[in-house]
Symmetry: D2
Subunit: 346 residues, 4 copies
């Protein structure tokens, strides 16, 4: 049914979330990639910059000023923070739907957003309208949304890991700890010294302990799950792997609970959240290249501390894959379309 293909536009196609969107959409049977924009690379073929796309994507980058995004059914923003909020209203008014992979529409409290992102917000009313695109929480709202705020990578891994515990109300929500480790692609494709191979390779460090932009996003989500204001300590770490997030979560049980059953039942019908058998330790590579989140839950030494291990591929379930999942939901397609990918192991 060629005639009914979804016309998709991508704004900002030279970063890792852009090329990952292309990887996924290139094999999507119901999508036509209508255009992909880049100010700096206009005219260059996408596959000249990313030879992995040779034979799969034949488009050149289009200058944003020339791009006919208004003709698209859906526009993905794979841009730095602060771009999508400038262009979204016009696109929505023209009838397109918008999925922002950056942070412009993730945080409902405008003052909090402006503090952490260091700029004034251009369209607070659209923030109010935007649906936070974590399907495992907001599937019904996503289906009706014009504008979806695609979650951050850490927030996806951490929220999916805490969700069953907070929903069930079995942990002390005031003392949550998220010790998270990310592959270096999470820092993007900008040329910066600290993510050079000879800096980040064979090296491990924490960063942003004093405060990271994903903290208010995670706190907002956990508070919504819990119904009570949560207390969260969030420590991200830079890890010498290319893709992957591993979140190690700690909470104190306030009630006796069979946490294994709790997680299995909560995620029974979720195709992209896989609760591993008791005693497991998920590896980041077990989800490499796929939209899967894998979770294991432990009560070490039978005490009252519950430890949740949650892994995703930061570029897929933590970015482009979740965006495609959201698009599938928004357009009434089977949620797994183009996402039935077997992870690449080894």
């Amino acid at each position: 049914m060629q005639a009914t293909k979804i016309k998709a536009g991508i704004v900002g196609g030279t970063g890792y979330t852009g090329v990952e969107l292309l990887r996924l959409l290139a094999r999507h049977p119901d999508v036509e990639i209508a255009c992909i924009t880049s100010r700096g690379e206009a005219g260059q073929r996408v596959s000249d910059m990313f030879p992995s796309l040779r034979g799969h994507v034949d488009l050149p980058f289009t200058d944003p000023a020339q791009a006919n995004l208004a003709a698209c059914d859906v526009v993905f923003f794979a841009t730095p923070n602060g771009i999508a909020m400038q262009q979204t209203r016009a696109l929505l008014d023209g009838g397109a739907r918008v999925i922002d992979l950056a942070a412009d529409f993730r945080i409902k409290d405008i003052a909090v957003w402006e503090k952490w992102y260091g700029m004034s917000h251009a369209c607070p009313d659209l923030v109010a309208e935007a649906v936070y695109g974590l399907p495992e929480i907001n599937r019904a709202e996503i289906a009706k949304a014009r504008l979806v705020a695609n979650p951050g990578c850490y927030p996806t891994a951490v929220q999916l890991g805490f969700l069953p515990l907070l929903k069930a109300g079995v942990v002390d929500e005031t003392q949550l700890i998220a010790d998270a480790k990310s592959g270096v692609s999470g820092a993007g494709r900008k040329a910066e010294t600290h993510i050079l191979f000879a800096e980040a390779g064979d090296n491990f460090k924490a960063y942003g302990v004093a405060g990271h932009r994903h903290l208010p996003e995670i706190s907002q989500g956990l508070t919504a799950m819990s119904g009570k204001r949560v207390g969260l300590t969030f420590v991200p770490h830079l890890t010498p792997l290319i893709r992957g997030i591993h979140a190690t979560l700690y909470a104190r049980l306030t009630k006796d609970a069979d946490v294994q059953s709790l997680f299995e039942e909560h995620y029974r019908n979720e195709r992209f959240v896989d609760v591993l058998p008791k005693g497991s330790h998920p590896e980041t590579r077990s989800v490499r290249g796929s939209n899967q989140c894998r979770i294991a839950v432990h009560k070490p030494q039978g005490g009252d501390v519950v430890v949740v291990l949650s892994v995703i591929d930061n570029l897929v379930k933590g970015a482009a894959g979740q965006a495609v999942q959201n698009m599938n939901i928004m357009f009434g397609l089977p949620e797994t379309t183009a996402l039935e990918i077997v992870p690449l192991l080894p």
Copy 2:
């Protein structure tokens, strides 16, 4: 058309070529994975050993003695050398087709094979019958074959790189050099000290300079292309990457030749060999997870030395992907079925 699916068996499913075959066959629309054998892991679910397969492959490993391989339409051997030759005759007699990913049927000269592999061959007559499964050379024979010897990883990258030059007869075939670099997965999944992370990581070395088993396989292939006995120096290197082979090939031109055109014309109709634009340097990651070979060709400083750069993913075009390509050809399917994979970059 469930009824007509090809029943595939895999012998030896616990190594990297085994899990890679499963990754590819799990998404093959015309194949049903009938069984996968392992002596050591019989009864265990494949996805317990390789969690990347959870949700995609639901089979347990079967003990070889219990496996009904005779009921399969095609049997893949992803075993150590010397196993396939023990079982192939019975399978062929029973009507199955066989694709051996090990080396049992690759070398026509039995004495040479026995010298390099250190054992007596169990079925020289089947070696004579076997077709060397490099589709870019032997497509027609593969289509008719009962038994295919799937090429080695180095031999695939090196032969595809030299093929247009030798076919055209424009280089001195007595002085060929292949300086090849392989990711560590090429050494398999056996527990051996030299391929530990703390040994092979952040380290680079040559090995087997005095002689490597892939040398006679490559020489046989190059000699067939050239029509004359070739002289080849082959130096393999172990590289700290997981997947990927990069072959850097050197030859001396004996005739003036537009080597760029030569390569482009030779591979014009090959879906899995991509000749890059003049001046390119293919990266191993540009083929990661895919069945692609990418090639660039140079004449440095306009001299008479031609340098060919050829990259593949050793587990795909160098093993499991080429095996599926061969199967597709043998069973009259479109050659790219289940192989239209966009490489994973980054």
Copy 3:
């Protein structure tokens, strides 16, 4: 003063702690490496196995049965657990001093040791005598010791990170969390599948969440510091780096405390513990190859959770370097002898 050199023997020289001891002792001006044993490699030159030692160590491995360890002033055990306890009494009786880099003498409660290590202890009385070789805690006892139990790698990083807080009594000792990440060399040089390059590379995972042998060792140490029985959740992770441990420690402050000053004052005179300026994030590579521990301490968002970041090189301060430090103390040498190494960065 050649005549007075300390004669050192190393039992078990083929693992990473063995070769690391050799690296350090080879440049120690007051030590003569008298012998190094290996059952499997007897007769082979050490530098044939480890070419990095060519020109620095000229010894062959000696068969343990032939080694004249009794003639040594100090014997290092770089062996698997359970070996040192068989041989220590005789060596001590003969007048040698012993430093065990394995776990035989680390845990005072024999029943606990036997449970976690799965064997009967051969000499409980020597466990009682042994001094736990963490100089920053036990310097005076080490100076008098005949037998030193060299701490584990995780225990070193974790104990040094919690020490000032527990000594000062400013945190809730019942709710400590240690989220620790180790390079793969911490798993040793045994050929095992899970630490192959193609398994552990580009991958991250937790392990041993249900219980790890270093847990009782750490708990014993923290309890001694605190004077009260501590509650500790310890989660180790395998990280794709060769050397390095990063411990991220969480505790709840029970009193208002200037934690930065607390740490700086506690470690003011410790040459091998470096408290970084406020707001820092130590990198594992900043201690690579050196005996240094670097620590930073944070109170995120000014709350009551204190986060300590502690890094060491697991093979140096976490093993061989600390053993040499202990030896220096035991023999009255300047503690830093042979340990004034500038870390290798990048």
Copy 4:
């Protein structure tokens, strides 16, 4: 003899060769680091940028305009190309000796230099005076030099590998091939996209096949050794390791020669060139952090092709270590002072 310490200045201390010079000089008993300059980081302590130097180097960066380099006995330039040539004459006139780790004085033919480096040379007469600082070739001249051009990393590995063959005149000098692989630190510490961790990690590629700046430097050196103009094909590759160069060299023997003996005899008295036993394959990690070059030589299948494997640490023997070796020679110190480093393995 504090009074007689050599006062050393370093111009450009924020790159990898700068920090590596500091690592080595910090432990040099006869050197006082007098100043280290950086335009961008003036005032910052060197150890704030490179925490590995904490406790070893206590200097701040000095603004070049303020630095009293004239008071130094020796000045190292660890700068981009084109800087040293601006400042060297004044320093020499003031009595200092100069060691340039960049390329300003390496190539004698000014026209060739200007073509490859794309600028006019500021002081051709000093190029004529400068001594090429490869001690294994030019030791006597270095001892008398005011100005030393420290060799490039690839040129060091390649020239040391070809030297015995060309000196002995046993190979065809018109058909030399150098297939070289470098760790990513060889590209420096500038923020550039292609050397990001997520670009260069788990990836392998050739680059500069059409022409690399080290080609004329190597050709000049080989031609001097041979006495005849050499023909060289040089292909560099970017390898996912931090430090290390592996050069695989190919030449055709024109005379029967015992190449193993040839190499052993040639390098018998060289402390920093280690010829491995016949049949060896040197690993880059066997020289990590040290000033060593290790070489193995092979004649595969007993033919007339000789294969030389030559490894160095690009930042030590390929840069800062060789510079210190040159300084030792220039100042009459034992050549190995501060360079008796056991490589870091693993």
